[in-house]
Symmetry: C2
Subunit: 177 residues, 2 copies
């Protein structure tokens, strides 16, 4: 598995079930959402702009994409969870199973962020991102071409304590409803 194959397999419309475990309190949160992953051109204005923020030559990027999601949490008074984000993989030239991932919006915090990814020998995409006050570690793998699993951990910025652990199972929807 390399980043090109991984992004190509990810393009599409997905139905997601996500469970978040808030570890300190033993709380569960359940979120149902729809996710769209669409490819972007290497010369799209939002791609060029995000590359400039990090001083990256857009020509070194591979398959930038946009992820959009819309969902509903079971937490009281929760509003619809909705958003979208531009993501740009920039593979390492010397180690093709590693690279950077630029994101327009962070996972742990709202600001733009750059994470480091690599693929394990069983094809799992592992992404670590450091933020001001937190660090995120995500693992994403395909069980088959139409089922993806994702585990996301939010840690304290020192990286030792785990604050939230969440798990998504994502099923490809063959026709968009």
């Amino acid at each position: 598995m390399d980043i090109r194959e991984f992004v190509e397999q990810s393009i599409g419309h997905w139905r997601s079930q996500r469970s978040a475990h808030h570890l300190a309190f033993g709380h569960f949160e359940a979120v149902q959402s729809e996710i769209d992953i669409t490819s972007l051109s290497i010369d799209a204005p939002e791609v060029i702009e995000l590359c400039q923020t990090y001083n990256i030559d857009p020509q070194t990027a591979v398959l930038p994409f946009r992820m959009s999601w819309e969902g509903q949490s079971d937490w009281e008074d929760s509003e619809a969870v909705k958003g979208n984000c531009v993501l740009i993989p920039v593979p390492d030239l010397e180690q093709p199973n590693r690279g950077k991932l630029l994101r327009e919006r962070g996972y742990a915090e709202e600001m733009a962020a750059v994470g480091e990814y690599y693929f394990t020998d069983d094809g799992t995409f592992v992404l670590t991102t450091s933020y001001d006050r937190a660090a995120a570690e995500e693992k994403i793998w395909f069980v088959n071409p139409n089922v993806r699993c994702r585990v996301s951990l939010i840690k304290t910025s020192a990286g030792t304590g785990v604050v939230t652990a969440s798990f998504s199972s994502e099923i490809r929807q063959t026709s968009k409803s």
Copy 2:
């Protein structure tokens, strides 16, 4: 990571939050439980008996252990979930990061089962077990010495469709309450 280190790190008393996603229906189930993992002697009667079932020389086993759990599901009318199981790792003599895991009771089905495990290059324990009517794939990894994550998938026996995907976050309890 090898099986000896993995089992040694696992010994202890854990508080577990588990979310199961029943994919066909989009259902969520939340389970809170306490898990005890205790080591067993290589010559304990239950270890010898399970080895005999699979025609395995107990001398080739490494750190057999018993896992006990007691918990509560949020499903209506659910009874307390309680059980225990003897597990026996039998490493491959030639490939130390692989082996078999004998279990007294299966995960997908109640009968005894033998699974195949290996460790990925990032220290994740991956176990696949085939049953009569189902197959299970489990991934377990340590985020730090006191936090374990576990993803368990139950598939149709052909191994293509995913029926249930569940995620546990497990936190070591330093004193047993």
